[in-house]
């Protein structure tokens, strides 16, 4: 733990930390381009130069490359280093076009900031500028190579970090080109990260092109709703429209990057057919408050007439923990039976195993990335949880090993071991049955220093996950834990499972009993999510409940029917649409769209007034 002095301030940093990160700890920003937390230091841009007065290397040094030493004395703002940094900026600006007024990066451009900070104002170079022909990189990313300052971040992200093979560095000297061999869509599932890592406007978001200036955009952090990993995202909205999504930073989950599904898969938020108003079959379009009143009175009436089983509340793995919890409160208030938290009982049961039986040995994605052996049972990482695939890539980059056991053909854009076996063999393998493969695997796991087992909840099911937990327990010793990463189905499967009673009743059997007169679905559509949806639909049609209220968040317009709501338009006589995952950003934008989040909707139903501060909190953060 060396202690060094930077600009007359002392700081103690971990062994091996660079001077740049040590300065960061003090709040001193040393300008840089090629250094990136996730990609490391490569010493290409030479902008982070500082003057070292005391230390084993003295003089002008690149702060990203030199490790902090005990007793080191460093100046960041002295004349020599400031002058050199100004020259670096001048060199970088030799070829950079003056097109900031029409560049989408304007306002969030690191080059703009560094140019201003570096004191470079008038271009002394009057020679010819270097120009390139740009490539068409598909529907998501725009390339404008004339703006490039050759920090190599894009190639390091695309090739090294994400394992992409169709994009890289070409050419040499000041004609280095970052692109593909020929025009065409970027093949990587993580191509959108080029937009985030590029410090200037070479790679910008095509879906966001010329829509807004950065400073007009309202951004607010959110969590990606597309799979169960819960990556941090930052949606940006303007003019009642979600305009883009960029990656948030959560070191324990996604780190600095997100997948293209998370970045470009939110078009439904702006879709004109997404329901934005409450309506019921009888009354037509309703005011949301009126709909809430209707929901409240009908549910109370049905309980009074038919007893506690007449109303069934169905929470979901898409709704937040708070919303699901409030649903539980509502059930107690109504006096109806406890709510269910998943339309798909097997998935829900798997999530329950993860939340209850495996909770002592769960691995975060961060732990998974630093593992040396990851064994994946019954999961297709790129299809089910793309950022899991990217975490596996980091394992391989650091010399670790990834083994996948799955009956399906699995593709990952890098080398890995895939063994195809039937679902039964897969369960046997997880169960520790003695086979040649099983012995080999046991042996590998025993020798590994930081093993992690990944289990696909869908394929292994609750029993398989339990077996996986036992396997991990067997492999765990005092000094070396073996962790588990269960792959669940929806963003809040885990939270929903935490709220559920141990033995949940099956939704279908409850409906088939005929006692249920009203089904309230919170951010879920059983017709889409239940495993036997045809059976479910039949049951629905023969004995339609009196009122069904679907309040499905992120409600997508259906392609199969003309209904704007979901696949079950007729059996859902009332719909109250909550706002989407981008609610915070949208609410902060000028002239925000109305609506409540599902959390506040349920709270209104039960007229919960536990401290107005809490409601204000929701108002401020969710815009309700």
């Amino acid at each position: 733990m060396p202690t060094l002095t930077i600009d007359n301030q002392q700081v103690t940093v971990p062994e091996g930390a660079s001077v740049l990160t040590a300065a960061e700890q003090l709040g001193i920003v040393i300008p840089h381009f090629c250094y990136h937390k996730a990609l490391g230091a490569v010493g290409a841009c030479r902008l982070c130069a500082v003057t070292v007065l005391e230390g084993s290397q003295k003089g002008l040094k690149m702060s990203c490359l030199i490790p902090a030493e005990e007793g080191m004395v460093v100046l960041t703002g002295d004349e020599r280093s400031a002058n050199f940094r100004a020259r670096v900026i001048e060199w970088l600006m030799i070829n950079h076009p003056h097109d900031c007024p029409v560049c989408d990066e304007g306002g969030e451009c690191q080059l703009q900031e560094m140019t201003i900070a570096g004191g470079h104002d008038i271009r002394r170079y009057r020679g010819k500028k270097r120009t390139y022909n740009n490539q068409d990189l598909g529907p998501f990313v725009v390339q404008e190579m004339n703006r490039c300052i050759q920090c190599y971040r894009c190639a390091r992200t695309y090739q090294d970090y994400c394992g992409g093979r169709d994009f890289g560095v070409q050419g040499s000297r000041n004609r280095v080109f970052f692109g593909r061999f020929e025009d065409g869509m970027l093949e990587s599932d993580f191509s959108g990260n080029l937009v985030d890592v590029c410090p200037t406007g070479v790679f910008t978001d095509k879906t966001f092109r010329f829509k807004s200036r950065y400073w007009d955009l309202q951004e607010a952090s959110s969590i990606c709703p597309h799979c169960s990993l819960g990556c941090a995202t930052v949606p940006g909205a303007r003019l009642r429209e979600l305009q883009r999504v960029r990656s948030g930073i959560n070191p324990q989950v996604n780190g600095h990057f997100i997948c293209d599904r998370g970045r470009f898969g939110s078009g439904y938020v702006n879709h004109p057919e997404r329901p934005r108003q409450a309506r019921s079959d009888r009354e037509g379009t309703l005011d949301i408050d009126a709909a809430v009143r209707l929901l409240k009175s009908r549910s109370q009436q049905l309980i009074a007439e038919h007893g506690p089983d007449a109303v069934l509340l169905l929470g979901s793995a898409r709704a937040s923990l708070e919303a699901n919890w409030l649903l539980q409160q509502w059930a107690w208030q109504l006096g109806c039976s406890a709510p269910l938290f998943g339309a798909h009982s097997a998935r829900h049961a798997a999530a329950q195993v993860a939340a209850k039986d495996l909770s002592a040995r769960l691995a975060s994605l961060e732990q998974l990335r630093s593992s040396d052996l990851v064994v994946v049972f019954g999961a297709d990482p790129l299809a089910e949880a793309p950022m899991l695939a990217l975490a596996l890539r980091q394992v391989i980059r650091q010399g670790g090993q990834v083994m996948i056991y799955d009956p399906r053909p699995i593709e990952l854009p890098w080398e890995f071991d895939h063994t195809s076996l039937s679902c039964q063999d897969l369960l046997n393998l997880v169960g520790g049955e003695k086979t040649a493969e099983g012995d080999m695997l046991q042996d590998l796991l025993q020798r590994s220093e930081r093993p992690v087992l990944v289990g696909g909840g869908d394929l292994l099911g609750p029993n398989g996950l339990q077996k996986l937990g036992r396997l991990a327990a067997e492999l765990t010793s005092e000094e070396r834990p073996c962790l588990v990463h269960p792959l669940l189905s929806a963003p809040n499967s885990f939270g929903a499972a935490l709220l559920s009673p141990t033995e949940p009743a099956d939704l279908l059997s409850r409906l088939e009993s005929g006692l249920v007169k009203m089904l309230v679905c919170l951010e879920t559509d059983p017709l889409l999510e239940a495993p036997q949806s045809s059976k479910f639909a039949r049951c629905h049609r023969s004995k339609p409940p009196a009122v069904t209220s679907t309040t499905k968040g992120d409600c997508r317009p259906s392609r199969r029917s003309s209904s704007p709501a979901c696949r079950s338009p007729k059996p859902a006589p009332a719909i109250i649409p909550p706002v989407t995952f981008a609610r915070k950003a949208l609410a902060a934008s000028r002239d925000p769209p109305g609506g409540y989040c599902s959390n506040c909707l349920v709270r209104k139903v039960i007229s919960l007034r536990y401290g107005s501060a809490s409601l204000r909190h929701c108002r401020a953060w969710r815009g309700c």
């Binding site: 290409a44 030479r46 002008l60 020259r87 670096v88 560095v169 040499s172 000297r173 000041n174 280095v176």
Partner: protein, 423 residues
């Protein structure tokens, strides 16, 4: 010829000597002696004692470099010969391999034995097709004769040697870029540390040496370290050196002369004097990346330390002479354009800084420069020197530093006259 000829002893115009001719003049005796009488430890010690300094340009003592090499580490280790000779004014390695390829092969086998490496690569410049052909034949002959392959001369030591063609960029002469190129990757230099001796080719310990350095090893073995040191004319120097003459001389040939031969003797005796009866104005003493020497330096002994003392470098001893009608601004521009073109594009001072320098020199040469541009040129020199990722930009600053130090007046004349005074 007064100088003992070690490397060029078999050189005949238009001929290449192979195994038979090489053996006839004592070839492979050093190898036999090394395997018979010496331990790897003793060979390394002898090379260290000989004070042999790297002939590729940097002049780092070979014995010290070998001292860093973990020769006892188990697993694959590599010996790489850098034959990517591409610096303007340097052609000595090409001459040597065109005349006597077995010199390198023998030197590499002894070096491999000394360092206990099991695989060697000769990374050769794309244009040296004939030399590569010669080497392949020499390797085949040496293998046939039992000097290469398994169990060399019954010692139990195995060594295999491969020739690998370069893709043909100047940057591949930088040792870590060379290793990337050899691995089939983009030849950007690597971050150091780790140095190649720790983590080199394919992540394994590797030593990279120049052709001429390696070809000297067997002569150190046969002649001894003291004899080798005494070959030089300077006290600190050692051995002979291949001096490649070029530029405005009557005779531009490559000669093997003692280290420390004075510049005047090289120009007048071996180069036959400056051509067309003109006067000597300046020279690059060791290839395009070394600062100029002027007529005031004619009596300087060409050796590493004595040239450093006068602000230049010995480099590769490729002496390029300029006569008194040469515009040094134009000459420097020409050199800078080479370095600018050969930059790999990795770091900013080299990639864009050299572009800026080339533009400034071009403005000067075209007579469009102002005193402000002169100041900018100094500024570029101060900021590019010592700040780039590898030594390429550093080397490019050699001629510019020489220009700014010795030919200030010429720059001022360009600005004053508004044109090149030599045109």
């Amino acid at each position: 010829m007064s100088t003992p000829q070690l490397l060029f002893k078999n050189r005949r115009p238009g001929e290449t000597v192979f195994l038979k001719g090489y053996r006839a003049t004592g070839g492979y005796q050093g190898l036999e002696q090394a395997f018979r009488d010496l331990t790897p430890e003793e060979i390394r010690q002898r090379v260290n004692d000989s004070n042999l300094r790297g002939r590729g340009g940097a002049g780092f003592p070979t014995g010290v470099k070998w001292g860093f090499f973990p020769h006892d580490k188990p697993g694959p280790k590599y010996l790489v010969c850098n034959c990517d000779e591409m610096e303007p004014g340097t052609y000595k390695d090409g001459e040597l391999l065109a005349a006597d390829p077995h010199q390198l092969v023998e030197g590499m086998i002894i070096s491999a034995y000394a360092l206990q490496t099991d695989v060697g690569y000769i990374f050769i410049r794309y244009a040296y097709e004939q030399q590569a052909e010669n080497l392949r034949r020499a390797i085949a002959e040496a293998t046939e004769a039992g000097y290469l392959g398994k169990n060399i001369l019954g010692s139990g030591f195995d060594f295999e040697l491969h020739v690998h063609g370069s893709a043909g960029r100047y940057i591949l002469g930088e040792e870590t870029a060379l290793l990337n190129g050899l691995e089939g990757k983009r030849p950007n230099p690597r971050l150091k540390p780790p140095f190649p001796a720790v983590k080199g080719l394919f992540g394994r310990p590797t030593t990279v040496n120049n052709v001429e350095t390696l070809a000297n090893i067997q002569h150190i073995i046969t002649g001894g370290a003291d004899w080798f040191r005494d070959l030089a004319l300077t006290i600190d120097g050692s051995g002979t050196k291949l001096y490649g003459l070029s530029g405005h001389l009557n005779r531009t040939e490559c000669h093997e002369l003692p280290v420390g031969t004075p510049l005047r003797q090289i120009v007048e005796e071996y180069g036959g004097g400056v051509w067309q009866g003109r006067k000597f104005k300046a020279c690059l003493p060791g290839g395009a990346s070394t600062p100029y020497l002027t007529a005031a330096h004619l009596d300087v002994a060409l050796d590493f330390d004595s040239l450093e003392a006068v602000g230049s470098r010995f480099g590769t001893a490729g002496v390029t002479v300029f006569d008194d009608r040469t515009c040094m601004v134009a000459a420097t521009l020409n050199l800078i354009r080479f370095f600018e073109r050969e930059s790999c594009g990795w770091c900013t001072p080299c990639r864009d800084g050299l572009t800026m320098v080339a533009w400034l020199l071009q403005m000067l040469e075209a007579g469009q420069a102002t005193p402000e541009h002169h100041g900018m040129l100094r500024d570029q020199l101060a900021n590019i020197s010592g700040t780039s990722f590898c030594a390429l930009a550093e080397g490019a600053m050699g001629p510019l530093a020489g220009l700014l130090e010795h030919f200030e007046q010429e720059i001022a004349d360009h600005i004053k006259k508004g044109c090149c005074p030599f045109q």
